[in-house]
């Protein structure tokens, strides 16, 4: 009888051990399911982020023939054909329509500022603008303002023959290093101007052909730049800031799937 009882106790012990084991297995199974759910969610986040980056990539590609912007640490390089191509607007609208129709996720874009060539240099907060006949960079204040400008204005052969400073403000200690090169496409005429200019003062360089103004390069407070040119020119510019920067269009892309991603368009 004692042996039989021992057998029952042994079975009960095994049952308890089995129950503990089963509980542990269920716990592991639950964790495994949660882990699989987490991976699924990660894949959705990945999918939304990839789509977002893909759209940014294409937008940069579409505007690059007219406005090519790149960034190296704290310097922004811009290469433009002024005036901006009118086709950019149509191309951007069609691309937005294509993404809306042919994406597996819901993509929407608001591209009004990108069409107008309006960019923000972050984190310095300077604003780049392209209006008809004028290209400009306006820092929001002196903090993080540009340290140096390099400008190259490229004209068609025979469209430029001279340039001279109309006014130079360089009396304060807070200056900005400026190099302006005016040339024609054939390099038959190359004019270089180097100046330390006041960030808070006003200076201007007059570019002429046969005595008539063909472009005006102006510097004003707080370290702002404006290139006024009614004709067609090629413009190369680099702007150095005191801190690392990137360039955004003040527009929004929105990608909606199981995980959403919305934000401003980063161009460079």
């Amino acid at each position: 009888m004692a042996g039989v009882k021992r057998g029952v106790f042994f079975t009960l012990s095994m049952m308890l051990l089995g129950s503990a084991l089963l509980s542990f297995i269920f716990f592991l199974s639950e964790q495994s399911t949660k882990s699989a759910d987490t991976v699924t969610y990660l894949m959705e986040i990945d999918r939304a982020s990839d789509k977002y980056a893909e759209v940014e990539d294409s937008l940069s590609r579409i505007i690059s023939p007219s406005i090519n912007i790149s960034v190296q640490n704290s310097t922004v390089y811009i290469s433009e054909s002024l005036p901006l191509s009118e086709n950019i607007e149509a191309d951007l609208d069609r691309f937005a329509a294509f993404e809306a129709n042919y994406s597996s996720v819901n993509v929407s874009m608001s591209l009004a500022n990108l069409k107008g060539g309006y960019f923000i240099i972050q984190p310095s907060g300077a604003v780049m603008t392209n209006t008809a006949g004028e290209f400009g960079i306006t820092p929001t204040g002196l903090a993080g303002a540009p340290e140096a400008y390099y400008l190259e204005l490229v004209f068609q052969p025979g469209e430029v023959d001279n340039a001279a400073w109309l006014s130079v403000s360089n009396s304060s200690a807070d200056t900005i290093n400026v190099h302006v090169r005016v040339r024609d496409e054939s390099y038959a005429r190359v004019l270089d101007f180097y100046q330390l200019l006041d960030k808070t003062g006003a200076s201007s360089l007059n570019v002429t052909n046969l005595g008539a103004t063909v472009a005006l390069v102006g510097f004003s407070s707080p370290g702002a730049l404006a290139v006024q040119c009614p004709g067609n020119i090629g413009l190369k510019a680099s702007i150095s800031f005191t801190e690392p920067v990137h360039v955004e269009a003040d527009d929004e892309i929105s990608v909606k799937s199981s995980a959403n991603r919305t934000g401003r368009v980063r161009i460079a």
Binding site: G18, T33, E54, S85, D91
Partner: protein
């Protein structure tokens, strides 16, 4: 051994057998349930899907998707895909006219998709430029699987 003692032994034996049978059924049922719920390595899935995206991005950045050179794309797929993975790539190109996108062509690259295997997918839209203007709009779809 008395009759009463024998009957008691039988009763205890029955309880013991019942408990054992219950434990056995419980373990079997749990094993079957968990096996049915079991999935493959989810992180492995993520890695494969990610590989597909990376390959598409690499091909696009190299300009291969837009050009459509089958030999170059085949070589690039072999060179870029992680070992043990195969892929099939399809690129559909559209042009815009009269307010709609019209299919210009569809090109297929890589291996044929297998049957009876798990296949993961990735896609990428991109634009083709000509003389500084958008000439066409394309969708690249990739199917990727373990060999």
């Amino acid at each position: 051994m008395s009759e009463k003692r024998k009957a008691m032994q039988g009763f205890v034996f029955s309880i013991d057998a019942t408990l054992s049978a219950f434990l056995l059924v419980l373990i079997l049922a749990t094993t079957v349930l968990l096996s049915a719920q079991a999935t493959g390595d989810p992180y492995g899935d993520l890695q494969i899907a990610r590989s597909g995206k990376d390959v598409l991005l690499a091909l696009d950045r190299q300009g291969m998707l837009g050009v459509g050179n089958a030999t170059a794309i085949g070589s690039a797929l072999n060179a870029t895909l992680p070992q043990g993975l195969s892929a099939h790539l399809s690129v559909s190109t559209y042009y815009y006219a009269n307010g709609t996108f019209n299919l210009l062509g569809m090109a297929e690259y890589g291996d044929a998709t297998p049957e009876g295997k798990s296949i993961w997918g990735a896609s990428r839209n991109f634009v083709g430029l000509r003389n500084g203007q958008v000439a066409n709009y394309s969708t690249a779809r990739m199917w990727i699987w373990q060999e």
